[in-house]
């Protein structure tokens, strides 16, 4: 389990009052999908970086399966059990071919070559990129590159995936492909912490956390917040058109579920 226990964070050199995160408490269990919503500057990315020890809390504690992320002796255990995927796929691909990039993580851990091959093949198959092993990264589409980044994280065999706005720079098809790859990992039992500003991405989560100014403004099932347009607006979020469509249908007496955020789940209610 990833546990945030009253975590606060102030960036070094920043004003003491400019708290990026302020007393945040929550957890992510294996197999659980937790979405983190919030406007730019709400502290979402800081939260993601605290989850694998890239940053350590100014106050409070973050633990991953019982290991404190501040425990430097075990930093690499934490990082290999929490795979990170960032916003811009271009800035996380290090090697000149697809397969060598996926191998980068386990190579760092000193995994022997035959096992490296298995890990690379499995990770590429898991994100639907099998067959592209020898390609150069810049020959891939945006969605493929982001899935390559996911495969790179998976090759560490992490128990958790932390995704920091992985779809915001992708075209609609690329976004769907990435979301599908992520959902397969949740089914496989990995815990996922997905930072996003797409409400539709959050609608399929087990739990949604909304951050404003570094504090948790909401935490609960998506249906507790996604149907409430006024609350969303006050938190700097807005419903996508399909959400407004669903809300309008509800007000016209059609029993559309509150978390319905795609055509399928809205039409099912008709």
């Amino acid at each position: 389990m990833i546990v945030f226990d009253h975590v606060s964070y102030v960036y070094p050199g920043a004003d003491e009052n400019a708290v990026a995160l302020d007393g945040v408490t929550f957890s992510v269990r294996p197999g659980e999908h937790v979405a983190v919503l919030g406007a730019n500057g709400s502290g979402k990315s800081t939260l993601a970086r605290l989850a694998n020890g890239l940053l350590t809390p100014s106050a409070g504690r973050v633990t991953v399966d019982g290991i404190d992320t501040g425990d430097l002796a075990r930093a690499w255990d934490v990082r290999s059990s929490v795979g990170m995927v960032f916003q811009d796929p271009d800035n996380q691909i290090v090697a000149t071919t697809v397969e060598e990039d996926v191998a980068f993580g386990p190579e760092n851990l000193g995994v022997p070559a035959p096992e490296l091959r298995t890990r690379v093949d499995e990770a590429l198959a898991a994100v639907g990129l099998a067959g592209l092993e020898a390609r150069e990264p810049h020959q891939l589409s945006g969605g493929q590159r982001q899935r390559l980044a996911i495969a790179g994280a998976l090759a560490l065999l992490p128990a958790y995936l932390v995704l920091d706005e992985p779809t915001s720079m992708l075209d609609p098809q690329g976004r769907l492909d990435v979301l599908e790859a992520v959902s397969r990992q949740i089914d496989a039992g990995r815990g996922v912490l997905h930072v996003t500003h797409h409400l539709a991405d959050a609608s399929v989560a087990d739990r949604v956390i909304v951050l404003t100014a570094g504090r948790i403004a909401f935490s609960g099932h998506p249906r507790g917040i996604l149907g409430d347009e006024a609350a969303l607006t006050s938190l700097g979020l807005s419903l996508p058109p399909i959400g407004r469509f669903a809300a309008e249908l509800r007000s016209l007496g059609v029993p559309v579920p509150l978390e319905a955020m795609d055509a399928e789940s809205v039409v099912a209610a008709l």
């Binding site: 609609p172 058109p241 039409v267």
Partner: protein
């Protein structure tokens, strides 16, 4: 002012083994006061078309016309046709916001004072107070502010036609809203063309739409006809907007829809109304 592209064709790396045909026989017209949407999947030739329209690339075939007369040297139209690139905030460079925004008008040969004047006016247009933001460093701004400063850098040239390439990619809710406001304000005094794969953001407010698919025109006409026939999106490799997809699925599920709408409220009324009619008919029986 009217910008018209006729029968445009373009091939990258012509004459080499890497030659890639990007556009064939594509037309685009943008008139003052119009908002034209250019839709297309990644690799459909949208960006090439934009570069040709902005005078940055000479078409291999076809003509670019300005107010009815052909443009002989494409760079002539730089400035009169402005192009805002995707993530334009990555092109800021000057020491102050004001100087950065004045870069365009200065390049076009406007005097120092005139360029500064134009920069200040452009900053106001994107909703930034020039007294506050003018003297700041463009590298000390928030993401949303930097994005608007970069748009101001194009508007300061006082273009009569403004082209946008994927203006909402990577932006959050407030950033998208700011772009919408800028576009709405612009179309009142200039022509606007927006290239995007984000169908939902602008289709509802566009006067005309062209859809590109693998370098050829797959559709050209009003937004209404496109909304009434969502299969056209799929044919061009585009995702059908979710609200529209829901209505199509509702019809397939037996709700007697007669027409579609992209506006969530109107669409909900259409679906609810059709559902009620169906209910009544069934009760009569």
């Amino acid at each position: 002012m009217r910008l018209a592209l006729r029968d445009i064709g373009y091939t990258y790396a012509q004459g080499t083994s890497f030659a890639v045909r990007a556009l064939s026989g594509v037309g685009l017209e943008v008139d003052r006061g119009e908002l034209v949407l250019v839709l297309g999947a990644t690799g459909s030739g949208k960006s090439t078309l934009l570069r040709i329209a902005a005078g940055l690339l000479s078409p291999a075939e076809g003509t670019v016309m300005l107010n009815g007369s052909p443009v002989s040297r494409p760079p002539e139209i730089i400035g009169r046709v402005g192009l805002v690139f995707q993530s334009p905030q990555t092109q800021l460079f000057a020491e102050t916001v004001e100087e950065d925004v004045a870069f365009g008008p200065r390049n076009l040969g406007r005097g120092h004072d005139a360029a500064l004047e134009a920069a200040r006016e452009a900053l106001e247009r994107v909703g930034l107070d020039w007294r506050t933001f003018g003297p700041r460093s463009p590298f000390a701004l928030s993401g949303g502010e930097a994005h608007r400063v970069a748009i101001a850098g194009v508007l300061a040239m006082r273009p009569e036609i403004v082209l946008f390439d994927e203006p909402t990619t990577g932006l959050d809710v407030s950033g998208r809203r700011a772009v919408r406001v800028i576009v709405e304000e612009l179309r009142e005094r200039a022509g606007v063309a927006i290239v995007t794969h984000d169908v939902e953001e602008f289709l509802g407010v566009a006067d005309r739409v062209i859809v590109l698919s693998e370098g050829v025109l797959a559709y050209s006409g009003g937004a209404g006809a496109l909304i009434d026939e969502p299969a056209r999106f799929q044919a061009a490799g585009l995702r059908v907007p979710e609200v529209l997809r829901a209505q199509v699925m509702a019809r397939e599920a037996g709700v007697p829809m007669t027409c579609f709408s992209l506006d969530p409220h109107a669409a909900a009324a259409l679906v609810a109304g059709a559902r009620e009619r169906k209910g009544k008919r069934e009760r009569k029986r």
